[in-house]
């Protein structure tokens, strides 16, 4: 089990590894839009996942995803090779999400009909996808959802997740375990591992 987990984390990590993303940012600094397209291809799921975990609203998360990549393009000269490129991109996504929440005043829960629309909008989204997203959005606390989503889409270590979300490592660890347990309970109707 542990080994499998590590393998999956490794897969997620590879798509957005610093060694891959960093050259893309350098090319973007030279004004190359193709590099942005490649970055988008590799990081859009992570950005969208994080935005959705904050906003719980697909249209807002889509807006933030688009805004994030526009920001990344505009501000790519400010990127300093201090952290990982993905962390920089996700920090922008997180800040935009928080600003969106602030503009909104409070978190609005996703209404059921919005989910119908989501399915209609995106032919790729299967019934099972909808069930999983519904469970993550409705069944988890905000922090649980943020932690488990980030882990799923980035394959990051908990320490890296703690840094991005500005949470203590111990909190991240406990939220992560709790989130997986809750998801399992919802999706399997209470079955324990």
């Amino acid at each position: 089990m542990l080994i499998l987990l590590e393998t999956m984390a490794e897969e997620s990590r590879q798509a957005t590894a610093p060694g891959i993303l960093e050259p893309l940012l350098v090319r973007m600094q030279a004004g190359e839009q193709e590099a942005l397209a490649e970055l988008y291809h590799r990081a859009r799921t992570a950005v969208y996942g994080l935005a959705l975990s904050y906003l719980k609203h697909t249209h807002d998360a889509e807006d933030v995803t688009q805004d994030t990549f526009v920001r990344v393009w505009e501000n790519v000269h400010q990127y300093q090779a201090r952290g990982t490129p993905l962390a920089w991109v996700l920090t922008i996504a997180r800040n935009l999400s928080l600003m969106n929440l602030r503009d909104r005043g409070k978190t609005e829960d996703m209404e059921p009909e919005a989910w119908e629309r989501l399915a209609a909008d995106s032919p790729l989204v299967t019934a099972e996808d909808r069930q999983v997203l519904q469970a993550a959005l409705a069944g988890l606390s905000d922090e649980e959802r943020q932690v488990v989503t980030l882990h799923a889409v980035t394959g990051w270590k908990h320490k890296e997740i703690a840094a991005l979300l500005d949470l203590p490592l111990s909190t991240v660890l406990s939220k992560y375990r709790r989130a997986l347990q809750k998801l399992r309970d919802i999706l399997e109707g209470g079955e324990k591992p």
């Binding site: 799921t45 688009q66 501000n75 602030r102 999983v132 320490k159």
Partner: protein
């Protein structure tokens, strides 16, 4: 379903649901900002906060169409600019960047504006005069060198341009006075709720916006707790993500621009804090997997949060930034707590955190090598000791004065 499958399902669902429209993004990609000017125009009208320069808070608000004032009128307020150090001054400016009014927002600002009639002057002249007066009255110095410049304008592009210009002006004034200043700057549109909050706490909208930004980007900072902080302290916090060794660089926190380095002369220094934590843990530099230290604000004081790991075991300390007292420490992992460390130097207490931990462990009847996720925190004269052992979670409150056990809890 195991963990991996669960996570894969979640990832897959997100992959399917995530937008895949690069053309929409490319169509919005205009020219890139250079290193100094990270501001972007908003796609649609949104509240945005633009960066900050450090030490004093100058809030210049440019209030455009909000009031329904016709732009053509020379007396229409286009922008509102505020400057905050501790004195807070609010300037209303028209489209031609002439000052329509200058309002002191606190007592210190009365002194700063004393005898100056800024109405009708160019904004840059007014800002020069105000900064000059701040320097003359000693509000900007080595101990507190931060200035906050805020521009409130419904036209964010115009606001951002003005913000950048003012930041440059102020940098020059400080430089010519041989002050190693730090400037925070931001641009935003009006926000009635925040304005009310600002009035409630008697601070400028600019400072309120800065605080709100910090609160939004943090899980533990609260608006109320930060209102009493100086701009210099807020500047340290605003830059704290990157503060370990790169504070000389311009750092972008989204919405806040920062140039220069906030003064840290009032504090023990990050190196001293690191040493305090390491020596408490009984760890030497060469054993470290990594070590990070940064400013934070906890329980009403500025602290250094020091994090490091040794052999995969993570430690986290909060060190009082002014006194060097160890306020809190945590350790994760399975190994026993390092032995032989020096005693914690918390003033006003007669037992230290280790003693409190030992008392709790003895009461629980467990040994150190059975303990996981140990956390010891000094709060209001009492140590909170939490840990896990076996299948139980323990929580103790130990009096810091005499080591007596105030509460003891054990949960499954």
């Amino acid at each position: 379903m195991n963990d991996r499958e669960l996570e894969q399902k979640l990832r897959q669902a997100l992959e399917h649901a995530a937008p895949n429209d690069i053309d929409a993004i490319l169509s919005r990609c205009g020219p890139q900002n250079d290193k100094i000017v990270p501001i972007t125009a908003a796609k649609k009208r949104k509240k945005r906060i633009v960066p900050w320069l450090a030490a004093a808070c100058l809030v210049l608000a440019i209030g455009g169409g909000t009031l329904g004032v016709r732009y053509q009128q020379t007396n229409a307020v286009a922008s509102v600019v505020s400057l905050d150090v501790n004195p807070s001054v609010r300037l209303e400016v028209n489209r031609a960047e002439k000052v329509l009014s200058a309002t002191p927002l606190n007592d210190d600002a009365n002194q700063i504006l004393d005898g100056m009639d800024l109405t009708g002057t160019d904004l840059d002249v007014a800002v020069n005069a105000i900064i000059g007066s701040l320097l003359k009255h000693g509000y900007v110095d080595e101990l507190a060198n931060s200035v906050l410049v805020s521009v409130e304008d419904d036209d964010l592009t115009r606001g951002a341009a003005l913000e950048e210009k003012l930041t440059g002006e102020i940098s020059q004034v400080l430089e010519s006075a041989s002050i190693n200043g730090a400037i925070l700057s931001q641009t935003f549109t009006g926000d009635e709720a925040l304005q009310q909050k600002a009035e409630e706490y008697g601070i400028s909208l600019g400072k309120a916006t800065l605080i709100q930004t910090l609160v939004d980007s943090s899980t533990h900072l609260t608006f109320e707790s930060l209102t009493g902080l100086s701009i210099n302290e807020l500047n340290l916090l605003a830059n704290s993500e990157a503060a370990t060794d790169r504070t000389d660089q311009s750092v972008e926190t989204d919405g806040i621009r920062s140039t220069g380095t906030a003064s840290q002369d009032g504090y023990i220094g990050v190196e001293t804090a690191k040493q305090a934590a390491l020596s408490h843990a009984g760890v030497t530099q060469d054993q470290l997997d990594y070590l990070e230290a940064d400013y934070d604000y906890e329980d009403g004081r500025m602290v250094y949060e020091v994090e490091f790991a040794v052999g995969g075991v993570e430690y986290e300390y909060d060190i009082d930034a002014a006194t060097g007292d160890i306020l809190k420490y945590e350790r994760d992992g399975e190994e026993s707590w390092q032995q032989g460390q020096t005693s914690a130097g918390s003033s006003g207490t007669s037992i230290n955190g280790q003693a409190a931990r030992d008392i709790a462990l003895a009461h629980a009847g467990v040994t150190q090598d059975q303990v996981r996720e140990l956390e010891v925190e000094l709060d209001d004269g009492c140590y909170q000791v939490e840990f896990k052992a076996g299948r139980y979670e323990y929580e103790y409150e130990i009096s810091a004065a005499d080591g007596s056990i105030l509460t003891a809890e054990r949960d499954d």
